[in-house]
Symmetry: C2
Subunit: 151 residues, 2 copies
């Protein structure tokens, strides 16, 4: 039981498909991967670590082209360490910017959800009045906010 995994096992562990793993290798993102005598892939722990790193880059939406550039630098060995670090630093900066943009948009969505909640209260109240049930009133509903037509 050596720690060299078949492509299906790697697929299972990483969540990628075997198709995608071959694709990544084809385009130079992964490799070289060991082979059995008959040509089947066997992934070593170092391959796994690299794939996991690629997945982190993917999570942060690095485009494949940049990953290829990074992989090429990595293949060129130690002298490219500064270049690789710089790539990561630039990418990280973009990622942090984007996280902030998403957080900001998420806040706006939260506000909208709350606005909808107030709409629902008002609508419920109006329809109950319409049906003649003028009780059921718990809190005063804020009439109608000036949400600037956002909806």
């Amino acid at each position: 039981m050596e720690p060299h995994l078949s492509i299906d096992e790697v697929a299972r562990r990483t969540g990628l498909t075997a198709h995608t793993l071959r694709y990544y290798e084809r385009i130079g993102l992964i490799g070289p991967v060991g082979r059995t005598a008959s040509g089947q892939r066997r992934y070593a722990p170092s391959n796994m670590a690299w794939i996991e790193f690629l997945l982190r880059l993917r999570t942060t939406r690095m485009p494949i082209g940049k990953m290829q550039a990074f992989a090429a630098l990595r293949g060129a060995g130690d002298p490219t360490v500064p270049a690789r670090r710089q790539m990561l630093e630039e990418h990280l900066a973009e990622v942090l910017t984007e996280i902030e943009a998403m957080r900001c948009a998420a806040d706006a969505l939260q506000a909208k959800i709350e606005y909808y909640r107030s709409c629902e209260q008002r609508l419920a109240l109006e329809s109950s009045i319409e049906r003649g049930n003028e009780h059921e009133q718990r809190k005063s509903v804020p009439a109608r906010t000036g949400q600037a037509e956002g909806d």
Copy 2:
């Protein structure tokens, strides 16, 4: 100077292209937009507010198909408010999950950057020793960390 903007002006203000604005309208994301007598689009403030909302959805990576569904609900008026709220709540939950995933991956990238920095120190030290300059040593460099082949 009414507050009804031409498509180019809207493009300028939103960062979308005129092409994309027409595309969004075509697929039912935007609309209806007012027209001049000769058929040119004139965007009202309510259109602008909706577009800005769409852009927030896009920032949070809602797929266009979902935006279309949302737009359709909106077009159906008040009774769909609860459904709209639910869509937003579900989407927001996904967004928060994804923000967390990105933040986590970003942390890993930061760690890798720091690892590279230590590599650079070690490499600089080694090459200076190789050249016979055995001074230049400031801090003890941690020999070589066992970064599990991540690189």
